[in-house]
Amino acid sequence: MRFRFCGDLDCPDWVLAEISTLAKISSVKMKLLCAQVLKDLLGEGIDYDKVVKLTADAKFDSGDIKASVAVLSFIFSSAAKHDVDSESLSSELQQLGLPKEHTTGLCKSYEDKHTALQDKLRQTSLRLGNLEAVSWRVDYTLSSSVLMEVNEPVIQLKLQAKGAESGSMETTVVSVSSDKFRVLLAELKQAQAMMNALQ
């Protein structure tokens, strides 16, 4: 069976197993649980005590709680990843055996946070070497040890970027003469024009 929310692949076995666990809590609690899981996926952190309280009625042990949070995270993030609309998600989840009220609650929460979730996923997509900060300074060289009168402007550029492989902040300082800087600026402006044309 191919499911759109799994990216046109089979649904993983563990998801099938845990959907039956989800069916054990009431649909109201289910909606609150979805809200908590969505908060976690959007980076606001999950309130684990609240989750424990929500699942206490159905007598979930810690393994069941973790499993239900995991399956909801999978469903939401996978559906957002493959840009599934909420009606398709609803019908596919019902095919997998999630009761109708639970599915309606889940899909309502999904629809509300659909755009926010996709934005968050877009932000966390792989990017190498993000440029975080640029600072510059223009100096005027008066003289040096090899030439008495230099009289040239020079730019010092400090670039702070995340290292491509290490992921930690790396600082690069370069000094650029005014001719080279003119060339650099012209090339970067051309690249910017190309980027704007694509927007």
Binding site: L128, S166, G167, A191, M194
Partner: protein, 202 residues
């Protein structure tokens, strides 16, 4: 199987019958703590002062005990074999029983500590990828070059705490070749030869 203890080892352990049974139990606890966290010289010195013996004797006794425990756990020897191996040291019955209890209670813990020492090859943890199309560069405009950038997150050692990441870039044809090679590797698990071996390992 029986453990064969070297002469030096037996000499180190010969310190144990000379002290109280309670002290031996205490040494056992210290030895296991050291296996988990590393040795601490102060404890040796404190014990030596209390028992009025040289520090080296205490150190050798505790280290001998540690070695006995790790060797027994390593080979997963049975109770009977452990008692037989310890018999050769000529300790009293009570001491043998204490050592046996120490071994039985802690051998699974010691084994899990020992497994942490073994692997030192980086292992796959997670992968992130992005698909890009290069449209232009400084030297040439109006291109369309698809590229896949992969970041492999690897862990070193069993605990998975240290994460290395390697960044790789590939074009679609290399990617297809990579995929077919990996699928062939996966298919190798299903051959009858592999199945026969897996059946017998169980």
């Amino acid at each position: 199987m029986l453990l064969v203890l070297s002469e030096e080892h037996k000499e180190h352990l010969s310190f144990l019958p000379k002290v109280d049974v309670a002290v031996v139990a205490e040494f056992g606890r210290i030895a296991l703590e050291f296996l988990r966290r590393g040795t601490s010289r102060k404890i040796y010195e404190g014990a030596a002062r209390k028992l009025c013996v040289p520090v080296e004797m205490v150190q050798h006794g505790v280290e001998g005990l540690m070695f006995l425990m790790t060797e027994s756990s390593k080979h997963m020897i049975s109770e009977v074999d452990f008692l037989d191996s310890v018999l050769v040291l000529g300790f009293g019955e009570e001491l043998n029983q204490i050592l046996l209890q120490l071994y039985l209670q802690h051998h699974s813990q010691i084994r899990s500590v020992l497994t942490l020492l073994s692997s030192n090859m980086p292992a796959y943890h997670n992968v992130e990828w992005r698909l890009d199309v290069q449209l232009a560069s400084r030297s040439i405009r109006h291109q369309a070059i698809p590229m896949l950038t992969l970041r492999l997150l690897l862990t070193r050692g069993r605990d998975g705490s240290t994460d290395h990441s390697r960044v790789l870039q590939t074009d679609p044809s290399t990617l297809l070749h990579l995929i077919s090679t990996l699928e062939a590797a996966l298919a190798a698990m299903k051959t009858s030869h592999t199945r026969r071996i897996l059946r017998n390992i169980k």
